[in-house]
């Protein structure tokens, strides 16, 4: 095509160029060169389009595409009625890149004022040689807007969530708290971290010159908000437990205390309070003692609150009956070299009276008829020595030594709750066997919906009924805890007053406790109270723990609308004036 043959030339216009006879190699060279150029172009395009495609595509995208992170919020924690106990709300954190932040002293002062930090502190932060410093974390959005309006160079903001706990110290131990980076550090916040935590999503978009999103490109990963947790807790009952416990600890000049309320029908934990406590919204100057969730993480020797278990085993094995008589005189019993004594000496008592009067000697005599293995198996079956596995951080299982190493005196002391240690949670859990018909119900922190759970049978329903009757006697006049009575309701419960162990020695310090349930005709609630080192006029479980129990239980029964199951004989005699008024009230209704 490009070759011009000489003999054709004359057909065209006369051209001196065409008249020249050029060597053929020149045109071939030309063609080759052009071909070579095409080759280079082809190679280049191969290099760009095939070999380097990904890299270049990315570079191109970065010119107009933006990857945005879509933040997800942490789940809420609510009580059983939906009242919020913990909620996250977005806040802003202000940061600076010190190298870029060249502020005039006046600007620095202005910024410090807005952020409510010290001038000098601010100047020090801005002068630091770090690449990045937070000036103030988690400030309200309104303040953040004012800071942004200053348009300071090298100062930026990012969005962060802050956790709020409206119920504050009342629910501090059960709810726990999170750190600044949304990580659960205590309580439910830690136990349910996996469910509460949201997963941030992402999307890539095209933004126009004005920074507005024009369209989505590529795949969108939607953010996953954390799951809301609905606890079994009832705020009203929690408040009762908390306020009554606090009052009791302060009144009795005690060191600490704990209280738990559970629903005997469902195993739900309705309240869990500890004293001392802390405010999770402001955690400055926090001490270990305040942080301790004693009801779950501390074990103590429960004392007499374990006696009903010994009595139940005796009834269950058929060795004793409800009214079998045991000689408890003279209030002392020597086993080996050690002597057990009663606080008040008793004569002959029935099994029921042993529990009612809380006689150590009587219970030890009953326990002496058991093989150690039998007793160990019973303690094991009601959950002593085992970690409750509620999911709480720091749960403990207490101490229940293997039966093979028990000596007779140890078996005797264990029958009334010494030489064995449990947490308050374990104790209240174990009492479900008496509040129910002999089965041990698993406990739950979260609200239980659906069919009521079935527990593992430990005692027969006959035994449970009889022990219930004994526990009712303990609260009546003549028992150890008349202060635990609640007008209008039949109450059953057991006191415990135990010496504390300090470095292996019993010292003259006490742990007063009370565990009970009501209404005794068909138990609905179980309340356990523990007061550590009461230093007031009395250190007995009945005097210290009993009133707390009555206050919490009475209020909780009323809150839940559980009908009274006892005739108001007591009130009829003592409150005659008011009874006389009742017909008038009736007419008004």
């Amino acid at each position: 095509m490009m070759r011009f043959k000489g003999h054709l030339a004359h057909k065209f216009a006369e051209s001196p160029v065409l008249r020249l006879r050029l060597p053929a190699w020149r045109s071939r060279l030309m063609a080759l060169l052009i071909l070579g150029c095409f080759g280079v172009l082809l190679g280049r395009s191969f290099y760009l389009q095939i070999l380097n495609n990904d890299f270049l595509q990315e570079k191109g995208d970065s010119r107009y595409r933006r990857d945005l992170e879509v933040s997800a919020s942490r789940g809420r924690i609510a009580d059983r009625n939906g009242d919020v106990l913990a909620i996250s709300t977005p806040m802003k954190s202000v940061w600076a890149i010190p190298a870029d932040a060249r502020l005039t002293p006046q600007q620095t002062r202005q910024l410090a004022q807005l952020l409510e930090v010290d001038d000098k502190e601010m100047a020090r932060k801005l002068a630091s040689d770090k690449n990045f410093v937070y000036l103030h974390r988690q400030i309200p959005p309104e303040v953040a807007e004012k800071v942004a309006a200053l348009k300071l160079p090298g100062i930026g903001q990012n969005k962060e969530y802050r956790r709020f706990y409206p119920t504050g110290e009342m629910t501090a131990h059960i709810v726990g708290f999170t750190g600044v980076d949304d990580k659960g550090l205590e309580g439910i916040e830690l136990a349910y971290q996996g469910q509460l935590l949201g997963r941030a999503g992402s999307r890539s978009v095209i933004k126009d010159r004005r920074g507005q999103i024009v369209e989505d490109v590529g795949s969108i990963k939607p953010p996953q908000d954390g799951k809301d947790i609905r606890l079994a807790l009832d705020s009203k009952i929690q408040y009762l437990a908390y306020s009554q416990l606090k009052q009791a600890v302060l009144d009795n000049k005690a060191k600490a205390g704990g209280a738990i309320v559970i629903d005997a029908k469902t195993g739900e934990i309705l309240a869990l309070a500890n004293w001392p406590t802390y405010n999770p919204n402001n955690r400055e100057h926090l001490s270990g003692a305040q942080l301790r969730n004693r009801a779950v993480t501390d074990t103590f020797e429960p004392g007499s609150t374990l006696k009903p278990f010994t009595a139940a085993l005796a009834l269950e094995k058929g060795k004793f009956r409800f009214d079998s008589v045991i000689d408890c005189a003279p209030g002392r019993l020597t086993i080996g070299t050690a002597t057990i004594s009663d606080a008040h000496p008793h004569g002959a008592l029935t099994v029921a009276q042993v529990i009612q009067k809380s006689s150590n000697v009587g219970v030890a005599k009953i326990a002496a008829t058991f093989a150690p293995q039998e007793m160990w198996e019973m303690f094991d079956a009601v959950g002593f020595g085992q970690i409750p596995r509620l999911g709480f951080p720091g749960e403990v299982g207490g101490r229940l030594r293997p039966w093979k190493s028990w000596r007779p005196i140890e078996q005797a002391t264990m029958s009334y709750g010494h030489g064995i240690s449990v947490s308050l949670m374990q104790l209240v859990h174990a009492y479900t066997v008496f509040a129910r018909d002999g089965d041990l119900l698993p406990l739950t922190l979260t609200r239980a919906d659906g069919a009521p759970p079935i527990g593992a049978p430990v005692f027969s329903s006959q035994t449970a009924r009889e022990v219930r009757a004994m526990l009712e006697m303990a609260v009546q006049n003549g028992g150890t805890a008349p202060k635990a009575q609640i007008p209008g309701y039949r109450v059953a419960g057991k006191t415990g007053t135990a010496y504390k162990l300090e470095s292996g020695q019993y010292v003259k310090k006490y742990v007063a406790s009370f565990v009970g349930f009501a209404p005794a005709s068909d138990p609905r609630l179980i309340v356990a109270v523990m007061i550590d080192e009461p230093g007031g006029a009395s250190h007995y479980g009945g005097d210290v723990g009993g009133p707390v129990f009555a206050g919490v239980m009475g209020g909780a029964l009323r809150t839940l609308g559980i009908p009274p199951d006892a005739p108001l004989r007591l009130e009829a005699s003592t409150l005659g004036v008011q009874v006389a008024q009742t017909p008038a009230v009736k007419e008004k209704l």
């Binding site: 919020s73 009242d83 919020v84 106990l85 909620i87 996250s88 709300t89 977005p90 709020f164 409206p166 119920t167 504050g168 009342m170 507005q212 999103i213 024009v214 369209e215 989505d216 705020s235 009203k236 929690q238 408040y239 306020s243 609640i486 007008p487 209008g488 009323r558 009908p563 009274p564 108001l568 009130e571 009829a572 409150l575 008011q578 009874v579 008024q581 009742t582 009230v585 009736k586 209704l589």
Partner: protein, 97 residues
Amino acid sequence: MIRLNMLLLLAVVICALGVVTSQHKARKLFQDLEAEQDRAKQLDVEFGQLQLELSTWATPPRIEKIARDKLKMRTPEAGKVISATAATGLSAGGLAP
């Protein structure tokens, strides 16, 4: 032949304009959607803050304080409480207000 070509050219131009307008509309709508989604998020945040405020006002200690100090309420003694049975509970509840 020329006529067909002209017709096709016209069709192409119309289609092209159509693409341009629909793209423009799509972007407008997309921005509206964005704005609404932002508003939804904003409202969600506000809802959370209001919920927080609600539960702060409604904490049991505060309610008890107001009930006791301001409204002079107190717990009735057990002797003053009449419990209605389930059968009459309904009618009593209806009459109460």
